[in-house]
Symmetry: C2
Subunit: 217 residues, 2 copies
């Protein structure tokens, strides 16, 4: 199973590893090892780990197909794209962090994706300037959400560590209940909502917000 080393091969091996572990454990050394070579061999095809990360992200964004804009359904279409984006990002724990830290995405798939989102907003009659800002804001929020969800499903030992923290907080707060009336009364609501519910809520807030702001300009 010895193949010639290619940039594509490196990226796909890295994504394969990422899918079943975590970004931090996808190291140049482990990728090289999986190719039966040393880490130095990778640098002929990839200039740095950072570039590799961006290539990985671009590859993933390429998996999201963009719909043909339909002016009557633009909000639902935008939600659908956001859901797919979240699914892809959370399926590869840690990559969402890259999406957030990359200032200006350069890859062809990123551009194609951005173009598609923008097209949906404009098809919905959102003014140019609002569309440009909304585009940025929504992408940011989706990535942020993915970072959080990724954290949950990685080595954080959801059920164990989180329960412990919850218990600790509850102890702290009930000791000084006067200081935290709202957190105490809403605590159960906060911790019982699923990630999916929170994501759908966020999408709704965003889109109604964008529509309202668009109307006011």
């Amino acid at each position: 199973m010895r193949r010639a080393i290619t940039q594509n091969l490196i990226v796909s091996i890295a994504l394969e590893m990422l899918k079943q572990s975590d970004l931090d454990s996808v190291s140049m050394r482990r990728i090289a090892q999986s190719l039966s070579t040393g880490p130095a061999s990778l640098y002929a095809h990839v200039s740095s780990k950072e570039e590799l990360h961006e290539l990985m992200l671009d590859e993933l964004l390429g998996m999201i197909e963009m719909p043909e804009p339909d002016p009557d359904r633009w909000q639902e279409q935008l939600k659908e794209v956001a859901r797919k984006q979240l699914a892809v990002l959370t399926a590869h724990p840690g990559i969402a962090r890259i999406a957030m830290e990359t200032t200006v995405p350069t890859g062809p798939n990123s551009l194609r994706h951005g173009e598609g989102v923008l097209a949906l907003l404009l098809a919905g009659g959102v003014p140019d300037r609002v569309a440009a800002l909304a585009f940025d804001t929504v992408a940011q929020w989706v990535s942020a959400f993915a970072v959080e969800v990724s954290g949950h499903k990685t080595g954080e030992i959801d059920q164990d560590d989180m329960q412990r923290r919850m218990a600790q907080i509850e102890g702290y707060m009930t000791e000084r209940a006067a200081e935290f009336p709202n957190l105490i009364s809403l605590g159960p609501t906060l911790s019982s909502t699923s990630a999916e519910e929170r994501f759908e809520f966020g999408l709704e807030v965003f889109l109604t917000g964008i529509a309202a702001v668009a109307r006011n300009r």
Copy 2:
């Protein structure tokens, strides 16, 4: 200037270093060095680097004072808190990442901050369930925004690296202009808006969205 090692001392040294560099360069070794000792000495007061990060974040959140909720001005008050939060996070590049990755904040200041935000929403007449969800969503977005801004002002060489990327993208897109009509026409708008404008836009979208969703339930 030799003082006894304390958890507080470690945290404040770490924050001091963070303020003038970057989270990645605040290492246990450098903190220890600044105390004229070895890294092992820190582990008597802090169980891991992760715990230190959370302590740092909590300390920073403690710097944000929460206003007394005024039902007539709740939206403006919420915006003001978000602005302060952004300012604190971006003044310490990299800490926003921790804010995003920490699933359930445990520190007393984090709790106090959360309680305050919740109080503002409830004072505004937002229903319990919506307040709980909105609280989470807005915190996430502010952190996400801070991550991006932090990236911009750290070693990313704003004016250099970014210009290069912009030029590269423009070249790529004008070569196949038919594929990117919207990105090309909105490109100037996208790149000419300041971070502050984008933040204010996001705040407005959020708050009008929350108010609208609250009305519909």
